[in-house]
């Protein structure tokens, strides 16, 4: 291999690697390190315990080592944390129990080639193209208390009997989950359409010849044969539930809104505004990181297992 080729290869590998290392993996690992510090973002982080650097009134304290105190506070003393965990879990549950089966059902019906399936596919897929910010805005018209579609239709649009879908902390999470599922179902549908086409049609025919019903054939033959897609859908579902942020931000106007606490929103709240809590925000980031490593590992195992065994 010539010297010139070596330089070419070094650049072709090196530039992407440098970007990925600097802007993805360095922050991902730094978030772990920062989670053991207390830092308002002023000055730099000193490698000294916080107890040995007393804070002087009026002078911002530089960063210092805080041990596991952030974790202690997150779990015991941060009012948003457990609601956020609960809401993320509900988000995931709704995606798995409602949006995913719905998307799968759409895909199965469309895959059977019923009349108009091409139009159905296009319409159900439309929300996937829209940004979540935009989805949040157009659904506000549906949920608007005085003028909105739902309240007007059900006759709850008078000041005396309004339903505040997006403001009421018992309702707003569910209202947003309708919006999120409206998009997610179309996404899942497209993934399963690809999956259904990859299933060997002779498998299905053999099952039908053997006297299995359509439903039995799907659950016993087609669904297991789609294992790779099932895993992709599962991973996408978990990751999307952890990332949920845009809809909440648009709906609440960027301010905390009771009923809509989420881990992703909590992380962001600690770096914006006057008082930055870099260490505390990082601790919440680590919690997200640890949870997300589960689906990420599952996906990597399934995607790369085969190649490892080839080596």
């Amino acid at each position: 291999m010539s010297r010139r080729d070596r330089v070419t290869i070094a650049l072709m590998l090196g530039i992407p690697l440098l970007l990925e290392a600097t802007f993805i993996w360095f922050p991902a690992i730094a978030t772990i390190g920062l989670s053991f510090t207390k830092w308002t973002g002023v000055g730099s982080v000193h490698m000294k315990a916080c107890s040995s650097t007393p804070s002087v009134p009026g002078i911002p304290q530089p960063g210092c080592l805080y041990g596991v105190e952030n974790y202690h506070q997150v779990f015991t003393n941060y009012p948003d944390f457990w609601p956020a965990v609960e809401h993320n879990a509900i988000w995931l549950a709704v995606f798995i129990l409602i949006a995913t089966p719905l998307g799968m059902l759409f895909a199965v019906i469309i895959d059977r080639g019923i009349k108009g399936s091409r139009i159905y596919q296009s319409i159900l897929f439309l929300p996937v193209m829209l940004s979540l910010a935009l989805i949040g805005i157009i659904w506000e018209l549906i949920y608007s208390p005085n003028y909105g579609l739902i309240n007007t239709v059900i006759g709850r649009n008078q000041d005396s009997n309004l339903i505040d879908w997006l403001g009421n902390p018992h309702l707003n999470l569910w209202a947003l989950l309708v919006e999120a599922s409206w998009r997610q179902a179309g996404y899942v549908m497209v993934l399963y359409l690809a999956g259904l086409k990859s299933v060997d049609p002779t498998l299905r025919e053999a099952a039908l010849v053997d006297g299995a019903t359509g439903v039995q054939t799907f659950w016993r033959v087609v669904f297991p044969a789609m294992r790779p897609i099932n895993i992709v859908v599962l991973v996408v579902t978990v990751i999307e539930s952890l990332r949920a942020f845009d809809l909440v931000y648009i709906t609440s106007g960027g301010n905390p809104l009771h009923g809509l606490e989420l881990l992703s929103v909590a992380v962001t709240q600690n770096i914006v505004g006057e008082t930055q809590r870099i260490g505390f925000g990082s601790t919440l980031g680590v919690v997200l990181l640890v949870i997300s490593l589960v689906p990420i590992s599952i996906f990597l195992y399934q995607a790369f297992r085969r190649e490892e065994s080839h080596e």
Binding site: R112, I114, A194, G214, V233, Y249, S264, L288, L289
Partner: protein
């Protein structure tokens, strides 16, 4: 590449005739799909309807009422008052370079790890693939500090920092999407026959020639599908722009919608009009390149 992706990349055969004809089942399926489609279209059609009606009329009659006037006035006013062209320009300045750079870097990296014998192929691919699956919020706190710490000449970024600059958004969008594109392109390149390289090696072609003149033209279908996906995703990005840009006027259109919402707070009709206009580029992609978009998603999920 699986048969499924093959089918999606080329004209798809959707209407496979089934021998079995269960009439009751078909009727139920049709009913179900019609209800679903109506429900799915309602929010979009309703927003468009609100955007087309004057605020004076809807204030009196509510949104759910028959129209007396339909007008584009809300669109015109929203466009003028918020200087929307400026936000569209920001989006173009961020999206186009991000897509091109991501595809160039991802394909060159994918070429080395999939077409050349290289010892660390698998660990490198895992590093990139996993990086793309991390929730953005895991990265944001240190990234935010990193962006404040990287100083650049004001001629390049305006802010003198990577923070609050368009370049900063190009960098993070590129870095964040690299993983997915490397994963898809390396899988795609592995399916290309080895023979195309052998003749070139005999002729003494350089690595760059083998990459740029031999491999890249064969990757066109995958590159087209990825370009469609990336354009939509980066255009639709909200999180990076909200957290890494502090000056409202520097934001691309998707995140600027949050500010417009505040600006037009008493005029929902104008917000609806602005939102509809912000959707136009993605709707063009949807109408013209829907097949490419779906093919891209299929490529991303076909491995395993």
């Amino acid at each position: 590449m699986t048969a499924a992706t093959e089918e999606l990349m080329h004209p798809p055969v959707l209407h496979r005739k089934r021998k079995r004809k269960s009439t009751a089942g078909s009727v139920a399926a049709q009913m179900f799909m019609i209800v679903a489609v109506v429900l799915w279209l309602t929010p979009i059609v309703f927003a468009l309807y609100v955007a087309l009606r004057p605020i004076a009329e809807t204030n009196k009659l509510g949104y759910v009422s028959l129209p007396h006037h339909l007008t584009f006035e809300n669109f015109i006013q929203a466009w003028k008052q918020s200087q929307m062209w400026h936000f569209f320009l920001n989006s173009a300045l961020i999206t186009i370079p991000s897509v091109l750079v991501t595809l160039l870097l991802a394909s060159s990296f994918a070429f080395v790890v999939s077409r050349l014998r290289f010892r660390f192929n698998i660990p490198l691919l895992i590093l990139f693939t996993a990086g793309n699956l991390l929730p953005q919020q895991v990265l944001i706190t240190p990234l935010y500090r990193l962006y404040l710490a990287i100083h650049l000449p004001t001629a390049i970024t305006g802010s003198g920092l990577l923070y609050n600059s368009e370049l900063g958004l190009i960098v993070i969008n590129t870095a964040f999407q690299l993983g997915f594109c490397v994963f898809v392109l390396s899988n795609y390149m592995k399916t290309l026959p080895v023979e195309i390289d052998e003749a070139a090696i005999m002729d003494g072609a350089t690595i760059w020639n083998r990459f740029w003149h031999l491999t890249m033209p064969l990757c066109r279908p995958a590159l087209a599908a990825l370009a469609t996906l990336l354009t939509t995703w980066i255009y639709n990005d909200f999180f990076w722009a909200i957290t890494l840009i502090s000056t409202g006027s520097k934001r691309p259109i998707t995140s600027a919608l949050a500010n417009l919402q505040g600006q037009f707070v008493s005029n929902q009709n104008m917000i609806a009009a602005a939102a509809m206009m912000a959707a136009i580029p993605t709707l063009i992609v949807y109408l013209v390149l829907q097949k490419q978009f779906i093919a891209g998603l299929a490529l991303g999920s076909s491995k395993g």
